[in-house]
Symmetry: C2
Subunit: 240 residues, 2 copies
C-alpha cells in the first residue's frame, strides 16, 4: 500500500525546534542567496565535493592543509579565500574534480540543526524538479528547511519552498497540513509568472542589492537548468 | 517633517528575538483563534478589562479571589472556569462592566515577549481598521506579532498580519522592507475576496476543526465590526 508522505516547511532556523514531522524524514536545505544555489551550480559544473564549514578560522586552517576555499562575509570575498560564494565563481576548469571548502553561516547552521534527518539534500531553483523527483523516490517524510537571513524569514527561500511544495503536492502526492507550506505555496503562485519581476520588486532593499547582480540573478532563477541532486555524506556534499 | 514609520511582521514567537525594528515601537499582538478576537469582542461588548494570565493555577487563584475566569485548554473549557475562551462566550449581560481573568498560552507568551514595546495593542479582524487608524495616530514604528500555534506559523494570524500590513502601507504611508510582511501581504491578497473559503479550504485540518464552529468563524472574520482598540495598561487590557 502506498503510504502518504507528508511534509512541512520551516521558514527560518529558530522555527526548526517546533517541527512536527516524525522521523524518519529527509531535509531539503534552502539558502537561495547564496549557499545552496552555489553548491548546486558547483556540483553541476563538475566540482567533486563541497565541504561546508561554518567558521572562518576553520576555512583558513583547511586552506593551509591545501584545500581550495570559498568564503564570503557581508557580500565580499574573505581576503585569504580563493573565491567568494557566488555560484558563478565556481565555474573554473581547474575546479573540476576538486573538493572545495565552503564557509557559510546561514546554510551551515541549517545543515547542523538538521542532523536527525535520514538524508540532507541541497535545494535551489536550478535543480527544483530533480530534487522533487529524488525525494519522491524515497519513502521518508520531508522537512523543507529555509536557512533564512539572520534568523529572519526571507522571501527567496520561502519562494523556493513554495515551488517545491506545489510540485510535491501536485505531481507526487505528498500531503501537508502545515500553514507555512500553504503560505509559501501562496507566495509561489503569486510570483511564478514573473519571478524576476517579483524578486526585483523587492530588490530595492539593501539586503538584495548588496547580494546579487544581474548575472547571478539570472543564474539563480534558471529553473531546472540542472539535474544534479547534492546530498550530505560524511561531512561532504556530493552528487546523490 | 513627516517621519516615515516602518514595520515588520513576526510570524511566530521564536522569531521575535530576530526583530530588527528599533525602539521605540508599538506591538500589535495577533492570536486570531482565539485570544485576541475574544478580547476585542469582549471589550466591544462592554467588559471593562481583561486580565491575561498564562498559568492555569494563577487563574484558579484569581477565581478564589473573586474574579470571573475564562480558561480553556485544547479547545475545552477548564473545569473550574466560568467560561471558555470563545469570543461568543463573553457576550453575557452580567459581564458588562466586569474585569475578567483570561488564561491563554500563545497570546500571553507574545505579550510577555513584547514588554519592550511602547504600547501593546490587541488586533483582530473585527477591529482591523480601528487598530490601523490608532497606530497611524502614533509616532512609533511597529511590530506585528503573530502568536502562532505551538511556536509554528499559522495561517489565520499571518492572514491578519497581511491585512493590517496592506492597510498601513496603502492608507497610512507606513513602509516595510520585511520579507515576512510581504509574504503575509501576498497571502492576504490571495485570500481577501473569499476569506471564509480560504480558511475553510484549510479547515479540514484537525487544528481548525477542533477550534472553530460556524458561529465563531463568522464572528472571527466579521471585518471592522467594532471600533474598539484594546491596549495593555498595567497588566490589564482595556480600551485605549
Amino acid at each position: 500500500m502506498d503510504k502518504k508522505r507528508t511534509f512541512e516547511v520551516i521558514l527560518a532556523p529558530n522555527l526548526y525546534s517546533s517541527k512536527q514531522t516524525k522521523e524518519p524524514y529527509n531535509v531539503v536545505v534552502v539558502d537561495i542567496f547564496r549557499a545552496t544555489t552555489s553548491i548546486c551550480g558547483a556540483l553541476d559544473y563538475g566540482v567533486k565535493a563541497i565541504i561546508p564549514v561554518k567558521r572562518i578560522r576553520h576555512a583558513r586552517l583547511m586552506k593551509r592543509l591545501g584545500y581550495i576555499v570559498a568564503a564570503e562575509r557581508g557580500g565580499h570575498k574573505v581576503k585569504f579565500a580563493h573565491l567568494g560564494n557566488s555560484a558563478t565563481a565556481f565555474f573554473k576548469p581547474e575546479f573540476i574534480g576538486q573538493e572545495i571548502v565552503y564557509s557559510t553561516t546561514n546554510g551551515t547552521k541549517a545543515v547542523k540543526k538538521a542532523h536527525h534527518a535520514r538524508n540532507i539534500v541541497i535545494g535551489s531553483f536550478i535543480n527544483l524538479s530533480a530534487v522533487a523527483e529524488w525525494l519522491a523516490s524515497k519513502p521518508e517524510n520531508l522537512v523543507i528547511f529555509c536557512a533564512g537571513w539572520k534568523n529572519k524569514v526571507n522571501l527567496e527561500d520561502s519562494l523556493f519552498a513554495g515551488a517545491l511544495s506545489q510540485l510535491l503536492v501536485n505531481k507526487y502526492g505528498f500531503t501537508t497540513d502545515d500553514d507555512s507550506a500553504n503560505l509559501a505555496i501562496d507566495q509561489w503562485n503569486n510570483a511564478k509568472d514573473n519571478i524576476l519581476g517579483y524578486i526585483e520588486k523587492s530588490s530595492h532593499r539593501n539586503r538584495l542589492r548588496n547580494l546579487v547582480d544581474d548575472e547571478l540573478l539570472n543564474f539563480t532563477f534558471a529553473i531546472d537548468k540542472s539535474r544534479v541532486v547534492p546530498i550530505l555524506k560524511r561531512y561532504k556534499i556530493v552528487k546523490a
